[in-house]
């Protein structure tokens, strides 16, 4: 396949027909550049969505309580619904099969936290160990809470990465004692959370410890759980509807009362996001294919034109002894070479542009616009193949023209 003479011949043809080479190269480079940019921006949008919705486990459900807004069964509206420990037990037992991780929660905002000279306020949550997967928190060092901590009502806490940073700077917080509202707690773990800064400024303590300190009775603020991941979105929604009904019945809340017991199922949101992402993917794909088709048509046109323009030259070559095969080979190799080179240039410019513009596009909701290398390389290969076919058809025709016809062509 590799024939130095043939390449020398091709380089000569290309370099002595600069305009022609530049035009066809430009078409390809431009197509690949557009492809890269559009794909990159599309991916940037996707990244933004992903980040927006990556906060918690995607199958998480939260149950909050409030005041009733409708009178029901002789009870007046405006009654406050309060969850208690027995509800924890009730929900856990009733829906054992449908629930994966479960945790009641007590949340204290603006807890004054002191370590040596550093002082700040944070939100403290009393939770079960199951709360960690619910928040999709990841332990960076140490450990999360355990059931033993719960049983002993230990004064231990797991703190967010940013709490550690605020209070300890670059030092490790693990094993240190810090003061929360006047009580000393030992830091047993540091976690990070994909939910972002806010989620990384939480402090988690054993549920029992917090309850005994802040709640006079066995009150619970809210429940969080993840449903069994085997459930389809529709099944999960049906499950939470049943759960809502049962809870409303238990607390004697009007079934139409939306405020007293609120069950937030992330599945619905997840489904919407997934649909949105799917739509976005389709659009990106459509744009990509469209750009490629435009490029293919461009290179086809140019190849037809080039062959037409060279008909006489090809006739001369044939008269001098060029076989049809060598004519086809020459034109196609030229076509492939120009396409590959120009495609590479377009790819390079596109990638560099994305890198250069990437940061400044963030304020328009385009996060980290980038293209997977294999996608662009794939697109370039498609264009090369298209260029080859686009070159082959007219080359084949040119090669089969009788030399005498080609020579008479002006």
């Amino acid at each position: 396949m590799f024939d130095l003479d043939r390449w020398v011949e091709i380089f000569q043809t290309l370099s002595k027909n600069k305009l022609r080479t530049a035009l066809s190269g430009f078409t390809i480079a431009f197509a690949i550049l557009l492809f890269t940019l559009l794909f990159g921006v599309g991916n940037g949008l996707k990244h933004t969505f992903e980040k927006q919705f990556a906060r918690d486990a995607q199958n998480s459900v939260y149950i909050n309580s409030g005041r009733t807004s409708k009178p029901y069964k002789g009870l007046q509206s405006g009654r406050r619904i309060q969850f208690r420990n027995e509800d924890t037990k009730f929900i856990n037992e009733k829906f054992e099969d449908d629930i994966e991780f479960f945790s009641p929660n007590i949340q204290r905002r603006n807890v004054s936290v002191i370590y040596k000279n550093e002082h700040n306020t944070y939100t403290v949550r009393g939770v079960y160990p199951d709360y960690q997967p619910l928040e999709s928190a990841e332990i960076e060092g140490g450990r999360f809470l355990s059931y033993l901590d719960l049983k002993r009502r230990s004064k231990v806490i797991a703190i967010g990465r940013l709490v550690e940073k605020d209070l300890f700077g670059n030092l490790s917080a693990i094993g240190k004692n810090i003061n929360l509202d006047g009580f000393s707690y030992k830091v047993i773990g540091v976690f990070n959370d994909p939910g972002g800064d806010q989620d990384e400024r939480y402090i988690y303590a054993p549920f029992t410890t917090v309850q005994s300190l802040y709640k006079p009775n066995d009150e619970v603020d809210y429940f969080g759980f993840t449903y069994n991941p085997k459930l389809e979105v529709d099944q999960a929604l049906a499950f939470t509807n049943t759960l809502t009904k049962i809870l409303k019945k238990k607390f004697k809340v009007n079934p139409r009362d939306q405020g007293a017991i609120r069950v937030r199922n992330y599945a619905e949101g997840t489904r919407n996001v997934q649909q949105l992402m799917f739509g976005l993917n389709v659009i990106i794909l459509f744009i990509g294919i469209g750009t490629l088709i435009a490029g293919v048509i461009g290179i086809s046109n140019i190849m037809v034109y080039i062959v037409k323009e060279r008909t006489k030259e090809l006739g001369i070559r044939k008269a001098l002894g060029a076989t049809p095969k060598s004519i086809i080979g020459m034109i196609m190799l030229e076509s492939v070479f120009v396409t590959a080179l120009a495609g590479y240039v377009g790819l390079l410019i596109g990638m560099l542009a994305l890198k250069g513009l990437g940061a400044s596009l963030e304020e328009y909701g385009i996060l980290d616009p980038s293209v997977e290398t294999y996608v662009v390389v794939g697109a370039t290969i498609i264009l090369i193949i298209a260029g080859t076919i686009a070159g082959y058809i007219p080359a084949k025709r040119a090669a089969s023209i009788k030399p005498i016809v080609a020579l008479n062509d002006n």
Binding site: N17, A319, G321, A322, T323
Partner: protein, 232 residues
């Protein structure tokens, strides 16, 4: 070298056929310097194209260098052209973006000769036509006569059996024509078979044998030069 028997050729024109060659019989031996004379439309160019394997005949026999030409595919025709035939055209047909040397070297490329060797041989032939100093010039920097001499060098470079010249002086003034004919004569003197097509009497008169064509048939075939070298 070239044997033609009862050769017919017609071209389709719309639904009809234009019968261009109506039974040509011609025998050209090695080393002959032949001209085909005829007015336009007499079929002389068609004959040359068939002889040059640039076109196919419909009926009759054509034997080139002992090989019967029939149903040649493009590849075989290309190889035979490269091996046996050299072309000189009225409009020169040089490749515009290649310089004189590269134009002359091109047939050698298709013969599969290495680059250095090609350049060396091409330079020899350019020297032979007196254009060594013009080797690096593009065709549009050369005069008509120079272009035709480059074309002749290109026709000769593969050492063909026959040089076919289609109105080689048609685009040249009389002085230049003279020198081109001189060159063809020299080539013939070296033993090459030269086959010229022309409609000019004085050009034909410089060859050894004149074949006159009219309306697709040969009307006369005469030896004009007394110093004929051919041996029958």
């Amino acid at each position: 070298m070239i044997k033609i028997k009862k050769l017919h050729k017609s071209y389709p024109i719309g639904k009809d056929f234009l019968h261009v060659l109506k039974g040509i019989d011609l025998h050209i031996k090695e080393g002959e310097f032949v001209s085909i004379m005829g007015s336009s439309g007499s079929g002389k160019s068609t004959l040359l194209n068939i002889v040059g394997l640039l076109d196919e005949h419909d009926e009759g026999d054509y034997i080139l260098n002992g090989q019967k030409i029939e149903k040649l595919d493009e590849k075989k025709a290309a190889i035979l052209r490269n091996k046996f035939l050299g072309f000189v055209f009225q409009s020169f047909n040089l490749i515009a973006y290649k310089n004189a040397l590269e134009n002359v070297a091109l047939p050698l490329y298709y013969k599969g000769i290495g680059r250095k060797e090609r350049q060396k041989i091409a330079m020899e032939y350019l020297d032979k036509v007196g254009l060594r100093d013009w080797a690096n010039h593009l065709p549009n920097e050369l005069s008509g006569g120079q272009k035709q001499r480059v074309a002749i060098a290109r026709a000769l470079v593969t050492k063909p059996k026959v040089v076919l010249a289609d109105e080689p002086t048609g685009a040249l003034d009389s002085t230049t024509s003279e020198s081109v004919m001189e060159l063809l004569k020299e080539i013939n003197d070296e033993g090459m078979t030269v086959f010229v097509i022309t409609h000019e009497e004085d050009i034909a008169a410089q060859t050894d044998r004149i074949v006159r064509l009219k309306d697709g048939v040969i009307i006369s075939d005469e030896l004009v030069n007394k110093n004929v070298k051919i041996t029958i």
